[in-house]
Symmetry: C2
């Protein structure tokens, strides 16, 4: 994966689960994501604790959605992932002993806050259901995932 793509990756996985009509194994999901099943389990384990998915062991087991796509937003998923850092740039330190640095921080922090707030606001506007609808508009005759299983 490139950079921190957890949110993007998780949404991908969730949409695939939404399309399936039964449990999907971490192995299947891992192939779609071109990663390792353990990585999938690790990520989904966090979402399960918060009620977004559930898992079953054994034959016929795997992962399923357990939330209402109409009420869960991208922001909810973002938070469920632990609210990872949004910005790649930031201040060198938040408690400098240097007045010059404090001045720089103060000025930049406002810009950082605003940009973050905008992004999160956009995330709040989109539900998983809307994302799924958007997918179906595009989905015509093709397979969900071309190029890999």
């Amino acid at each position: 994966m490139i950079r921190d793509s957890k949110l993007s990756g998780v949404l991908h996985v969730l949409l695939h689960m939404a399309e399936a009509d039964g449990p999907v194994t971490s192995e299947t999901l891992a192939k779609m994501m071109q990663t390792n099943p353990v990585v999938i389990r690790r990520i989904l384990a966090g979402l399960r604790e918060q009620g977004y998915v559930n898992s079953e062991k054994g034959h016929g087991g795997g992962w399923q959605l357990s939330c209402d796509l109409n009420t869960v937003t991208l922001h909810d998923i973002y938070v469920a992932l632990g609210s990872p850092a949004i910005l790649a740039i930031g201040n060198r330190t938040e408690s400098p002993g240097c007045l010059v640095e404090e001045a720089v921080n103060t000025v930049m922090n406002q810009a950082f806050r605003d940009a973050e707030a905008l992004l999160l606001a956009r995330f709040s506007e989109v539900t998983l259901a809307e994302l799924s609808r958007y997918l179906h508009q595009r989905l015509q005759n093709a397979d969900f995932c071309r190029g890999h299983d």
Copy 2:
């Protein structure tokens, strides 16, 4: 340094140079930044190519500003640093072979673009001179840099 803090660090260095009335050595700047002189030289070398600073070798040498603080904005410095990535999160891949992933990307990219644009717009609104004025409002009797040389 924490995360990608080049811009914040560079602004710190530039303001210190603005306060000095002669050339400042990379060793002095490095102490202020709690880093290595070579790191300072590497970063400032890029800015020098674009006319923001200049350097002199030998006795009495060091680094000086060579731009008009009133016209140079934070955005200019950001660009001079090579326009580093702003967002820590992003899409797994921009050219997926999977329609699900394409849908996710499309929806998220708009939010990413807007947030980036907002941040850069804010950077464009602030000149180095304004940053310096803000510093002087705060600067009363204290040393520029307490806690280290």
